[in-house]
Subunit: 474 residues, 2 copies
């Protein structure tokens, strides 16, 4: 394909994407295909001769479209969102177009330095600790996911705790990590991957608001030390996946400080709210964190994949992950004057992901971002009021930001049926969790194009579906 | 930004990218900025108010462009390539536009099933073992990088070797992994991350052709077993990063089979050559592999990031990586009829990466892909002849495919100076390695738009630079 053919085909693709967003509400949000349906409709063998872009785009509609769950629909309220935006797509296009591989500074200095700059901007935009800045002892790096971010933290913490000997000698089974019962499953996965072992992961019980009970944490650490274990890592959550619960960062941070544990703060979705000063009370204690992570690809209008991972001391990463084979040696690295981000994460090769973040921040501006985040929180609080005023439904916990957990009073089975029936209409998509042993429905308001009318519509859908189901039962 | 504004801005971006490729040869291939130059030129704070796309694109030229090393230039011969293509960009645009997150089948069935289908196509396109197909005991998954692929393999192998107890109990320091002195550094990194410890990594010596000496491997495994170690993992390389050296897969595979070790085959760049039947003799023994990886983002015209990772028994992945919190439970997963790729790798969230692979394969067709790969290999063999016929230069090893290692006869220092001087002209970019203790220059021919004239030009540049340096020295 020549550049001039790409001009033509690329513009068709832009129109295709614009059309998609103009019509996105006409498709069922949750895909309704059966297992295997998409796979079986595609040809069994790759074409021998090349095919046209028109043919391919036609097949996208025919063969792929029915199998899409539309994450960019304003009627998507499930999980945590992945709220892309047009400026994010533009930045991603530029990254694909330039096609640079920024494994080390020398292989594209801009890929490293724009990332450093944008990560530093975010520190100020959110009043995160200044030590997280590139120009300080710490720094920030874009990872693909919060899972990779927390794994990076666990590994670095493991090495710090063992004087960088596990890298050499392998781990031993005395290291112990701590989460709450509400912490994201990615920490369990990281503890497995890192060779710590799930038997050495303690799930600390929570208070009524589903935040970690710091006193129980303190006691557990003391008990473990008495038994000869080495507590090394605590994950505190700002906004749990299940219910957006907040762990008491300062209390946990002080325990970590005293007990010499690495504190990782997982703020995967809620972290974006730190753009707004009125939510920054949640950051209290984050100055005690060794690492901190939030995902602009969840709530900050930046297309997958973009997870911002900060550390307060970059040496822990470099000491842990650095490897320098001959073919990557170069003067800039040897000078020590540059960052080689490959030493800050698992992967070697890396895309120029900072461009999409740069585009998003510049397009919206700080005030624009604040405006949209506040809008989502306001809509979630309205939804909360409707639930509170309803006779049939009840709130499960008080939502601090944009995630509402509630349920119909008719019990677990009814709530699951209600959710499945509502999602099967294709009009909206929301998911469930279990809180204190009971099913709760989750509505997350964070999709880029979600407006009040969409939130009203999903609430009506939930009420109407409940009434229809009740009618069937009676 | 509305869809109609995106139509306008997106088309500008398409034109920007097309312009970039039309003029790419007018820029120095290797960026010539100093450390900090790009960072310091960017504003210290994010804008408060939003800015226009025109402004942003203008700043890309002004602030970012000087810091780019142009991986998509036909004069890029460094490292392994990252050879994108316009169809790849189109597929990536579509992925950004759809913005789906395919962590589990239910969150976008097409994201999973197109991936399964394309990965199965490639098994047939390259005559890989049928057991790697989704419809068999094995299967394939797209990872972001070969580093992540090999880490996944190491972890799964660790669990297999310990009866899935390390996940629970942590690792112990009796497990031993094996690589050659030429194996990619990502295996060292993975062994560190997995808690195996570098002391438990054996670097087996190589034969004259820089392939692993299987007899030494066999002896080392026996010695380790005698000492009470548990050999669990061997990485065999098809096309080493340093010199494209080939390990004897079948010999190593048979040892792994007898000794009950996991065999991972790293074919990161060279794997793409398996599209052509005449190179498939290199696959001999791959039927003994537990896992196999090649990166279409290196040599198969598929934009970063796209690493194809196959296993012969998917249960090892699922047993190792599966975690199912309440909020991800769903009927499709419970039915067992679908693949949830989050259980096949480290990350939870995942982009729809299969689209770019689907676009590339369909655009080129199998014959088109073969044509381009054969062209690159032919050009590398021509370059090899020129070196052989030169009085001043010598081949370091016989290149099997598209990577030529050679050197000027004037010694290590001279070769390093020659490389730096040639790269500083901006006319081309190539890198170095060390082979048998001596510096070798590496020219890799794999960039999408590299033609004979570019290869001739880099050879002339190298000869002219050598002459000029000799002149200075005399």
């Amino acid at each position: 394909m020549t550049p001039s053919q790409f001009r033509e085909e690329g513009k068709k693709m832009v129109d295709w994407i614009a059309d998609y967003y103009e019509n996105i509400e006409s498709h069922p949000v949750l895909s309704q295909v059966k297992p295997g349906e998409i796979y079986n409709n595609l040809p069994d063998a790759a074409p021998v001769k090349g095919e046209s872009v028109d043919q391919m785009l036609g097949d996208v509609y025919k063969d792929i479209f029915p199998g899409l769950t539309h994450w960019q629909s304003p009627n998507f309220f499930a999980f945590f969102p992945a709220n892309g935006s047009f400026p994010g797509i533009l930045g991603d296009m530029l990254s694909s177009g330039l096609g640079v591989q920024g494994m080390i500074w020398a292989t594209s200095p801009a890929c490293t330095e724009v990332e450093s700059k944008v990560m530093d901007w975010l520190v100020d935009m959110m009043q995160l600790p200044q030590v997280f800045k590139t120009t300080s002892e710490g720094g920030g790096v874009i990872q693909d996911s919060a899972s990779s971010s927390v794994l990076t933290a666990v590994i670095a913490a493991r090495e710090k705790a063992t004087g960088y000997t596990s890298n050499e000698e392998g781990t031993h089974n005395k290291l112990v990590a701590y989460v709450s019962t509400q912490t994201h499953s990615s920490v369990e996965k990281a503890v497995k991957i890192a060779g710590i072992g799930l038997n050495n992961l303690r799930k600390i019980e929570c208070d009524g608001n589903l935040g970690m009970n710091a006193k129980v944490l303190q006691q557990q650490i003391r008990d473990d030390k008495k038994k000869g274990y080495i507590p090394f890592f605590v994950c505190a959550t700002m906004g749990s996946t299940s219910s957006n619960a907040m762990d008491p960062l300062r209390d946990i941070g002080e325990i970590c400080h005293t007990e010499n544990c690495w504190l990782h703060v997982d703020a995967a979705m809620a972290g974006t709210a730190m753009l707004c000063p009125e939510f920054r009370y949640l950051l209290d204690g984050v100055d005690l964190a060794h690492s901190y992570c939030f995902n602009p690809h969840k709530w900050m209008f930046t297309n997958l994949d973009c997870s911002c991972f900060y550390v307060s001391d970059k040496r822990h990463l470099i000491n842990t992950f650095s490897i320098l084979p001959e073919y990557l040696k170069n003067k800039a690295t040897e000078s020590g004057a540059v960052i080689d981000y490959r030493d800050w994460h698992i992967q070697l090769g890396r895309r120029f992901r900072a461009l999409k973040l740069w585009f998003v921040i510049r397009h919206y501006g700080v005030e624009g971002l604040q405006h949209h985040i506040r809008g989502h929180v306001r809509l979630a609080q309205e939804f909360t009021q409707w639930v509170s005023q309803s006779d049939d439904f009840e709130l499960v916990v008080q939502p601090p930001l944009n995630l509402v957990c509630f349920r119909h009073k008719a019990g677990d089975d009814f709530n699951m049926k209600l959710m499945e029936a509502a999602n099967a209409t294709g009009k909206a998509y929301f998911t469930h969790t279990k809180i204190k042993g009971q099913v709760a429905l989750r509505v997350v308001i964070g999709q880029t194009n979600t407006e009040e009318k969409h939130v009203k519509a999903v609430w009506e859908l939930i009420q109407d579906t409940a009434k229809a189901l009740k009618g069937q039962h009676q």
